[in-house]
Symmetry: none
DNA sequence: GATGAATGAGATTTCATTCAT
DNA sequence: AATGAATGAAATCTCATTCAT
């Protein structure tokens, strides 16, 4: 009987506690915002404070993990969408990202303010966005003067709508996404013509990170 | 010189302090979020704690006033835009509302979560939106299947973009607004057809208020 | 026209303000206890804070004056009672002292905790008590083993009853006083016999003063 | 040794802290009055502020508990006295209640201002008073025209004396109680005759509760 | 390893007192 | 002399984090 063998049950307990804490945190933060107390989280998870702090050395670490898993799921769905080759991957991705943000995960407000540590994952995400945007443009689904930062802004835009409407109309954001997509389509007629406002530069978009508010 | 005249200097001081407190609060809350401490606000304003609490009996009252003035300015610019009759009022209004939200006022996150007390002002605002939307549609600037709640969502969307980008690119939201407007234009060609997602109902939009979080 | 002439109107104003402040203080302290704020007192008096502080340099001074006037009235009524020579002066005095304490003056709790400054007045008061007690005893109205500190305690006792009952039964203390007096009468029969508990000594009674609580 | 057994040590600590806090509160409030700060209480108890607030969510709760335990002891001693059948129970009870109030518990001033929550306990207390009074009257120890509210007033009266004298003469109240009891004895001779002042009604006595001040 | 009590710095709020007008 | 705004020390209370059991 190896040590590993002996520890395994504990690890399972630990993993379970960890999961329960994350669920509890999502619930508490979704209800009360990130000001919700860690004590509420521990109580909701049914564990003691010590256990919480064993798993997550600070409240920030708990939040980070919450955001981290959200971000991993985001990357996951981006990768899924990336497999499409018919030019619809981008739209699929946006739809799914909308759903993801609409879930009451308690930390969406931090999703797009990644720290440097998460830079790599976000870089891959942006790369997928870029590729899928190009593909959509090749297929004529998106106007050619749209750039990848426009898509990023579109995701931030969804967040704004979702945060505002979630409590009373959890699906209202879909309508907004539809309009956003309409805005990305190739145009003809009276309002044709390239976008005149300068897009957000990649460099600046990469600098969106960390602390700052309102 | 009347007694009233004689008393004014004091009042002027008080009014000045009040203004300084509001400015300080905007600064502090813009930098640190609404978690910023009132002590910081008082220090930034160069007054004592007691003075702050003489003007604003609670921190919430201070925030409320901050939001209130933002909301009054919003209504003001809406009224201005309402004077246009060439169908461009709505676009003008959106542009100006974007600028307003882009200012570092420290409380934009609360702008659209009005309490019942502010219902009246917001009702007028929505009425103006409605009229200007109709006008824009008559002039063929906006597709006919857009409804007023789409415009509301558009403003919430701007908030999301602005909050995310303000620190590194204070004007990036303009590009986003341009795309949003493109999404509102009448369409023809491959992607023509009415919007299929159901719009947010007026009733639900009116219920967006008060507390709730991510 | 002398300076005194010129100042007189002002002094009248000042005296008026003083009186209003004392009345206001009595009202406020009676309603809220001595924790009532000086701001409430000033507002109730219809004067500014500065005026209050011109008349009374500290809150304590205001309270002291309130207690002081109560104490002066107490002495006054004692002197009145002292004019009786039929042995009823003491009872008259107690009755009137009860009425005095029953008035909502806002500071009865401090009446018997005089500072050294008021020692003189209280000494005279005690002297009157002593004389009237002797007279009452000579007339056979009060048992001979009663001493003057018993009368003092009786007054403190009235305070306790009055403070407790005033709000719901402003005259209940009279019944209590009647019982107290019955306890002072000469006794015969089954329960005759001198009081066995040692009385409070004059020396200690004189030391009852200033700060201390429960 | 059960889990419960194992957990007890923690609980024991907590209970100890609780007891220390109550003792400290009694001390601090006895010295400084109820205006004494909770910080002083925590320091005196040798615990942090957080600990105090874990045990007692507000200062009021701390005071309430202090008064509550005083009231429980009062009820306890009343029950003890209620076992006497020789008519001396009432006097015993009053003596003990005097001793109880004379202890420096820091909250005697609130003992008789019970909230509605404590109504039940006080009702039982009054019932015991009533029974013991009847018994004492049957045994000829107390005059027949005394009613139960007279006894209540007598207790309030003791409070007044004790609060005033405690600091310099902690036992002076006994002398006062002796006089009070003398006032309750059956009378004959010159001052015989029923009490003429109307007693405090039970209904009003029951309404003595909660807030009010001098 | 888990528990939850303890900690104490810091937040908001009050109020006696001072001071500019 | 009167006003009431300003002051800031102190009070109550909260909560992320630590630690004894």
């Amino acid at each position: 009987m190896s040590t590993t063998e002996l520890l395994k049950p504990l690890r399972r307990d630990a993993a379970e506690n960890r999961a329960r804490l994350l669920d509890a945190a999502a619930l508490v933060f979704a209800e009360q915002g990130l000001d919700g107390s860690v004590e509420d989280v521990a109580r909701e998870a049914g564990v003691g404070m010590g256990t919480l702090y064993r798993r997550f050395p600070t409240k920030q670490a708990l939040i980070d993990e919450l955001v981290g898993s959200l971000r991993r799921e985001l990357l996951e769905l981006a990768r899924d969408a990336a497999e499409r080759t018919d030019g619809t991957g981008l739209e699929e991705l946006l739809l799914r990202a909308g759903h993801l943000q609409a879930e009451p995960r308690g930390c969406v407000e931090r999703l797009w303010r990644h720290s440097d540590a998460e830079l790599e994952a976000m870089t891959e995400f942006r790369q997928i966005l870029r590729e899928q945007l190009a593909s959509a443009q090749e297929h004529g689904r998106i106007r050619p003067d749209v750039v990848v930062t426009d898509i990023s802004m579109l995701l931030w835009s969804l967040r704004g709508v979702i945060e505002t409407t979630r409590a009373v109309a959890p699906n209202a954001w879909r309508r907004h996404l539809e309009i956003l997509l309409a805005g990305l389509r190739p145009v003809s007629g009276r309002f044709a013509g390239d976008l005149v406002e300068r897009p957000l530069s990649d460099a600046r978009a990469r600098r969106i990170t960390g602390r700052d508010t309102d």
